[in-house]
C-alpha cells in the first residue's frame, strides 16, 4: 500500500461511496414506500447501474473483454456513455430516495451522511484490496512531476477541501437548526 497514491485512494473511495450511498436508503426500507411502478423500476435500475459502475471502476471483466473484441474501437465510446448513464441514474435514484425521508428540510446533510457511510465502507475495501482500475486511472493523473500532473493535484486537493468546508458548514447548520433559541 505504501507505493499507492493516497490521494487517489481517497478520491476512489468517494466515487465508490457515491455508488453505494443509495443503498443506505434501500436498507432503511425507503424503496418499499415508493408508489406505483417506481416500486419496481427503482431497484432494477439501481441494481443494473451498480453492476455497470462497479465493473467499470473495479477491473476488466470477461464480458467487457468479449465486448471489446466485438466492438473494436467503438468500445471506448460505448463504455464511457454507458458508465456516465449509470452514474447519472445512480445519482437520480439517490436524490429520489433521500426525498423519501419526507421531512427533508436539511437535504444536503442527508446526502452527505449517506455519502460518508458509503465512502467509509468503500475505503475499508480499497485499503485491503489491490488498486482498482479507477484508483489506477486517478493515480496516473495525480502522480508525476509534469505541470499537468501538478494541475491535477491542485484540482484534486481543491475539490477535497471544498467538500470538507461544505460538509462542515452543512453539519453546523444541521445542528444549529435543530436547537432553536427560544
Amino acid at each position: 500500500m505504501s507505493s499507492r497514491n493516497r490521494l487517489a485512494m481517497v478520491i476512489a473511495s468517494l466515487l465508490f461511496g457515491a455508488v453505494l450511498a443509495p443503498y443506505y436508503y434501500v436498507a432503511l426500507g425507503v424503496v418499499s414506500r415508493l408508489t406505483g411502478p417506481l416500486n419496481i423500476v427503482v431497484p432494477v435500475v439501481l441494481g443494473v447501474s451498480t453492476v455497470i459502475l462497479l465493473a467499470a471502476f473495479a477491473a476488466e471483466t470477461a464480458p467487457e473483454s468479449w465486448l471489446r473484441q466485438r466492438l473494436g474501437r467503438l468500445f471506448g465510446v460505448v463504455s464511457a456513455i454507458v458508465a456516465v448513464a449509470a452514474f447519472v441514474a445512480t445519482c437520480a435514484i439517490w436524490d429520489l430516495l433521500v426525498h423519501g425521508a419526507i421531512f427533508i428540510e436539511q437535504y444536503w446533510f442527508y446526502v452527505l451522511e449517506s455519502l460518508a457511510i458509503g465512502a467509509l465502507a468503500a475505503l475499508a475495501v480499497v485499503l485491503f484490496t489491490p488498486a482498482s482500475r479507477l484508483e489506477r486511472v486517478i493515480a496516473a493523473r495525480l502522480s508525476g512531476s509534469s505541470s499537468r500532473n501538478a494541475a491535477y493535484r491542485v484540482v484534486a486537493w481543491s475539490l477535497l477541501a471544498a467538500l470538507m468546508v461544505f460538509a462542515g458548514v452543512t453539519i453546523y447548520r444541521f445542528y444549529l437548526a435543530q436547537h432553536p433559541v427560544y
Binding site: Y25, L28, V30, R33, L34, T35, G36, L38, L96, H99, G100, A101, I102, F103, I104, Y110, E113, A177, Q178, H179, P180, V181, Y182
Partner: protein, 301 residues
C-alpha cells in the same frame, strides 16, 4: 386571581419573640404565595403571516383566550388541492391513505390514536388530549430546553444572559411573584430532533407528526415559595396548544408539491390529510398537552 402572600412570620424583635441577644440569627422563614388558580406568567406564540382563525381556549387560570392560527385551522368542502394532483377522489381511499403517516412517523401508537380521532369527522375543532403525549413531551430534550429557558436561571444549562425571562422579571420585582405581569414574545417549542431518515427521536416518538412546531405555549405558575435568604421554589404548568391540521404550505412541503410529487406513500398521506380537511370537511383537532415542572433557583443579588 385570589392570591395573597402569606408570610409564615419573621421573628418580632419588638415583642421579644426573637432570638436572645448574641444568639445566631435564624434564617428568614419561607414566604408562600398561595394560588387559588394558576397564574399566567409567560406566553409563547408561533409567528403567523396571516391569521385565518381563532380558537377559544379554556385555560388553566379559568380565563378564555382566543388563540390565533393560520390556514391549518380552516376546514370545509370544495377546496382545490394546491398545485394540482389529488391522492384520490374517494373519501374511503383518502382515509386509508392518511393512516400511512402514523405508521411511518410514530413507533409508539400515540399518533395513530389522534389520526383515528380526526377520522371521526368532527364538525368543529375539538380538544384532543392524551396523557401519553404529555409524558413524552415532559421527557423531550427540546421541551426541557424550552422550559429551562422560560425560567432562565443564571448558571443553568440553557441560560441565556441576553434574554429577560421569569427569573429576571422576578428579580426586578424583588422576587414578589404577585407583581409579575405575563412575559410575552417567547419563541415556541419545536419537536424536530432526530433523523427523518432513521426515524429517531421526534421522527419516531410521534411528536413531529402530531405537533412539530407548537403554535402556542401558555405558562402558568401554580406554586411559589420564596426563601428570602437564598432561593425560591416554583412550579410551572406548561400548556401547549397546537392545531392538528394542514395548510397549503404543508402540502407544498410534504404532499403533492413536495419535490418528488406523490412518489412516496407519505406524500400521498399528507395530500389525503389535506383533502379530508379541506374537501370533505373534517375539522382539525386542537391538540392540548399539559406538563408540570418544578424548579428550585438561587436568588442572585
Amino acid at each position: 386571581m385570589g392570591q395573597n402572600t402569606v408570610s409564615s412570620g419573621t421573628p418580632n424583635r419588638q415583642t421579644g419573640n426573637g432570638p436572645p441577644q448574641g444568639a445566631p440569627t435564624p434564617p428568614p422563614k419561607p414566604i408562600v404565595t398561595p394560588f387559588s388558580l394558576p397564574k399566567l406568567i409567560a406566553v409563547a406564540d408561533e409567528s403567523l403571516d396571516k391569521v385565518e382563525g381563532n380558537f377559544q381556549a379554556q385555560c388553566a387560570d379559568g380565563a378564555t383566550r382566543a388563540l390565533a392560527f393560520g390556514g391549518d385551522i380552516t376546514h370545509g368542502t370544495g377546496g382545490k388541492v394546491p398545485f394540482g394532483e389529488k391522492a384520490s377522489d374517494k373519501e374511503d381511499e383518502l382515509k386509508k391513505k392518511i393512516m400511512v403517516l402514523p405508521k411511518s412517523f410514530d413507533k409508539t401508537g400515540k399518533a395513530k390514536k389522534e389520526f383515528e380521532e380526526f377520522l371521526k369527522k368532527n364538525s368543529a375543532q375539538t380538544i384532543y388530549t392524551d396523557p401519553d403525549l404529555d409524558k413524552t413531551i415532559a421527557g423531550d430534550e427540546n421541551f426541557i430546553a424550552f422550559s429551562d429557558f422560560t425560567l432562565n436561571v443564571p448558571g443553568s444549562k440553557h441560560y441565556n444572559a441576553g434574554r429577560v425571562r421569569i427569573h429576571q422579571v422576578l428579580k426586578t420585582h424583588n422576587w414578589d411573584i404577585r407583581q409579575v405581569n405575563p412575559i410575552t414574545g417567547l419563541g415556541t417549542a419545536a419537536f424536530d430532533r432526530g433523523s427523518p431518515v432513521t426515524g429517531s427521536d421526534n421522527y419516531g416518538d410521534g411528536l413531529k407528526i402530531m405537533i412539530d412546531a407548537v403554535a402556542h405555549v401558555l405558562v402558568y405558575v401554580s406554586s411559589y415559595v420564596l426563601y428570602p435568604a437564598d432561593r425560591y421554589e416554583i412550579t410551572l404548568i406548561f400548556e401547549l396548544w397546537d392545531c392538528f391540521g394542514l395548510d397549503d404550505e404543508d402540502i407544498q412541503k410534504f404532499g403533492y408539491k413536495a419535490k418528488m410529487q406523490n412518489q412516496f406513500s407519505e406524500n400521498e398521506g399528507f395530500t389525503a390529510w389535506w383533502q379530508l380537511q379541506h374537501q370533505f370537511d373534517y375539522s382539525p383537532l386542537m391538540t392540548k398537552a399539559t406538563v408540570t415542572r418544578s424548579f428550585t433557583a438561587k436568588i442572585d443579588p
